[in-house]
């Protein structure tokens, strides 16, 4: 079934303070499509993880917040795009406990478990784009 976008926001995230703005916007959208509290929290946490990665490793970037629909399902799609150094080994980055920055190493693999759809594209030297989808009752 095809996915149709309904509403779209583009936010620029370059400092720690912008994270709060993004989180509130994501929450607003999630509430609007009547997403349950647990899924809301999962989505917001996933967004929080990815935006932190973007700030820390990618030097900030752009986040697209979209409300999407697929048949009877509504959901939120988030696209995180940075022009950072990129990820050389995606397989390694997606493994639990791997981190180049002395963190817990759960950001990417954890995020994948929190959302319904997860897609990571990265080119070394050019940047990274992460797309996630969370369905309202998924």
């Amino acid at each position: 079934m095809t996915i149709l976008p309904l509403a779209k926001d583009i936010l620029k995230v370059y400092k720690e303070q912008d994270v709060v703005l993004l989180r509130n916007r994501v929450k607003e959208r999630a509430v609007k499509i009547k997403m349950g509290l647990v899924n809301q929290t999962k989505l917001i946490t996933a967004a929080s993880e990815l935006v932190r990665n973007m700030l820390r490793y990618g030097g900030g970037g752009e986040v697209v917040v979209e409300v999407i629909t697929r048949g009877r399902d509504n959901g939120v799609r988030l696209v995180f795009k940075d022009q950072g150094p990129g990820i050389p080994d995606i397989k390694k980055a997606m493994a639990d406990g791997f981190s180049t920055g002395r963190s817990l190493g759960l950001g990417l693999p954890g995020t994948k478990r929190l959302v319904n759809e997860f897609d990571l594209k990265s080119e070394v030297g050019k940047g990274t784009t992460v797309t996630i989808i969370k369905w309202a009752n998924g």
């Binding site: 929290t41 993880e49 963190s103 954890g110």
Partner: protein, 287 residues
């Protein structure tokens, strides 16, 4: 051929008069915020500095160092006007109306030479636009300073360490837990543990909107540091949705004592300290 800088030097008083006339006839004049005399003093100062620093060479270059004193005065005006309650638009309009006065003077001088008039007008326009931008920048910078100060204040006041019982500390965390916050939280917590020689600290995260892996890592660090001080640390206020999220993320908090509410954390603390809270027997003795 008279040049703009020269013309303005000779006509400084005319410029001021024209500018004042423009400003006073403007319907947006805020004589409620600033008296016409003060406005005149301010305008005169700006015209004076601008004209005395303007030369043929720097007319082409709005970024020239020669304009430092002009920019300084503009910044001063912007700040003082912001305090008086002018909107940034009004301050911008103040500078823009100078442009009109300058154009009018130039037009009278160069009516016979349209090409030069056009060229000089463009340059002046570019220069004054740049000046107006400066007033906006200053205004925004002033606002940003206020925001930064408030951010600091929030960080300061939002981490109170409460002594709930002899030997038990509670620390309600409200808002996002980032690296800087964690530092403040940890510092005040560890300090308080020493001062009160407490043996149990309760970190309540009911007010933390999202617990991601970084927040969890900060919590784990805080707990480890508390343990090094010889105290036990309990994390309370874990909501059901946060518990599920933590599990999915794969964060291991099993080494930490966690409770759903502050009340159950307190109960656990009483238990650990071998304290008992009981209902008094019989009819209440106190009246």
């Amino acid at each position: 051929m008279p040049q703009a800088a020269e013309v303005f030097k000779n006509k400084q008083s005319v410029i001021l008069e024209l500018w004042m006339k423009n400003q006073l006839s403007d319907i947006g004049l805020r004589d409620d915020l600033m008296s016409n005399e003060d406005l005149r003093v301010q305008s005169e100062e700006l015209v004076d500095v601008l004209v005395s620093n303007l030369t043929e060479a720097n007319l082409n270059d709005p970024q020239s160092m020669d304009f430092e004193p002009v920019l300084e005065i503009l910044a001063g005006i912007s700040v003082s006007r912001a305090k008086q309650g002018f909107s940034p638009r009004e301050t911008g309009a103040f500078v823009f109306s100078l442009k009109e006065a300058l154009f009018e003077v130039l037009q009278n001088e160069l009516q016979n030479d349209v090409a030069t008039l056009y060229e000089q007008t463009l340059k002046i326009s570019r220069l004054v636009d740049n000046f107006s931008t400066v007033t906006f920048e200053t205004f925004i910078r002033g606002r940003e300073e206020v925001i930064l100060r408030q951010t600091d204040e929030i960080a300061e006041i939002s981490t109170p360490v409460i002594r709930v019982w002899d030997g038990i500390l509670a620390l309600p965390i409200i808002g996002t837990l980032d690296s800087a916050r964690t530092q403040v939280v940890m510092e005040s917590l560890l300090q308080e543990i020493v001062e009160t020689s407490s043996s149990i600290a309760i970190l309540d995260i009911s007010g933390v909107p999202a617990v991601d892996s970084l927040v969890a890592q900060h919590l784990i660090k805080a707990v480890s540091a508390t343990r090094l001080m010889g105290a036990e640390c309990i994390i309370s206020g874990i909501r059901p949705e946060i518990a599920q999220t933590i599990v999915h993320l794969g964060i291991d908090l099993s080494n930490i004592v966690t409770k759903a509410s502050l009340a159950s954390a307190l109960k656990f603390a009483f238990n650990t300290m071998r304290l008992e809270v009981r209902k008094k027997a019989g009819v209440s003795a106190e009246k």
